[in-house]
């Protein structure tokens, strides 16, 4: 029972990650939404690592992948935009 529940959750997570990854790559709406969906992919990946029994990898992924990297992308994006206006 618990095994099937984990399986269903993993499949749902994988589908959500794929959708978000496609959203991030296509970037139809704006670059901000692309960055946010890339960060969400990392966040869901960390949940996936937790389900696969690797809590330490999940911690790193959540802190660096979805936290610091998203900040870095937004920072660079704001700097690039400022360069456009000048």
């Amino acid at each position: 029972m618990t095994l099937t529940l984990t399986l269903v959750m993993s499949i749902l997570l994988a589908v959500a990650m794929l959708i978000l990854a496609v959203m991030a790559v296509r970037g139809k709406r704006s670059l901000g939404i692309s960055i946010l969906s890339a960060g969400l992919v990392s966040l869901l990946a960390s949940v996936m690592f937790l389900l696969l029994g690797a809590p330490d990898v999940a911690m790193t992924e959540a802190a660096i992948g979805s936290g610091l990297t998203t900040f870095l992308f937004f920072f660079v994006l704001s700097r690039v935009r400022r360069g456009e206006h000048d």
Binding site: M59, G67, L68
Partner: protein, 231 residues
């Protein structure tokens, strides 16, 4: 047309490679030789409940030193490149941070710092360790910077923490050569009772140093990124 065709060919090739990998994959039934050595000897020899930590800090401690060095080089290069950039003048008005962000920062900041310290001090008992704890510490700094982008941190303090913990890390490693089996051997201190906080020899000390070092490196990158305005 040729571009699209080659793209489809590339995708098909990648797909067949991964399909081949997936079809021939079979899960291991038992641990291999190295893994079973670690599984049998870690608790007895090193006294660490978390085998991953024992491998990272003791068996493969030199690799960890290399990883920390790579991170240090990255932080140094970011600092070097951004040192020539224009500083953001402190007087410029920014839109104030929202009430939610400010209150959330005040509430969560001590908790995040405490959790980061917990993760690296308990590295030998629970999942996680120096790198994870350091990244959590840096995310606390990130929250502080988000709530007030004009916040200034002492670069000197960050540098002192970073270099002191790095030097102590190497010093403990050398002590391992003198007093125990080799570089970064954790048995320079008594192993203690299995599963207690002050056990597993030097592992808690080494992981605290690694955590402080990683946290300081990430923080210095974040701070120098947010302080500069333009290249």
């Amino acid at each position: 047309m040729i571009k699209r065709l080659s793209l489809i060919l590339l995708l098909a090739g990648l797909g067949s490679v991964f399909l081949g990998l997936m079809l021939t994959y079979s899960a291991d039934e038992s641990l291999n030789q190295t893994a079973s050595y670690y599984a049998e000897h870690t608790a007895k020899d090193l006294g660490a409940a978390n085998i991953v930590t024992a491998i990272i800090v003791t068996y493969r401690g030199l690799d960890t030193l290399g990883e920390v060095t790579v991170l240090f080089l990255t932080a140094a290069i970011v600092g070097l490149v951004l040192a020539q950039a224009k500083r953001r003048e402190p007087g410029r008005a920014l839109p104030p941070a929202g009430e939610l962000l400010l209150t959330g920062t005040r509430l969560l900041l001590p908790l995040i710092l405490l959790f980061g310290a917990y993760v690296f001090i308990h590295g030998h008992l629970t999942p996680g360790g120096g790198f994870q704890g350091g990244a959590i510490l840096a995310s606390a700094m990130l929250l502080l910077l988000l709530s007030n982008p004009l916040q200034r941190f002492s670069h000197r303090l960050i540098t002192v923490i970073e270099s002191a913990s790095g030097a102590l890390f190497v010093f403990i490693g050398v002590l391992g050569i003198v007093y125990a089996g080799g570089f970064l051997d954790n048995r320079i201190l008594p192993i203690g009772t299995f599963g207690e906080l002050f056990s597993a020899g030097a592992i808690p000390i080494i992981y605290t140093l690694v955590g402080l070092k990683v946290g300081a490196e990430f923080s210095s990158m974040l701070v120098s990124l947010s302080e500069t305005e333009e290249l």
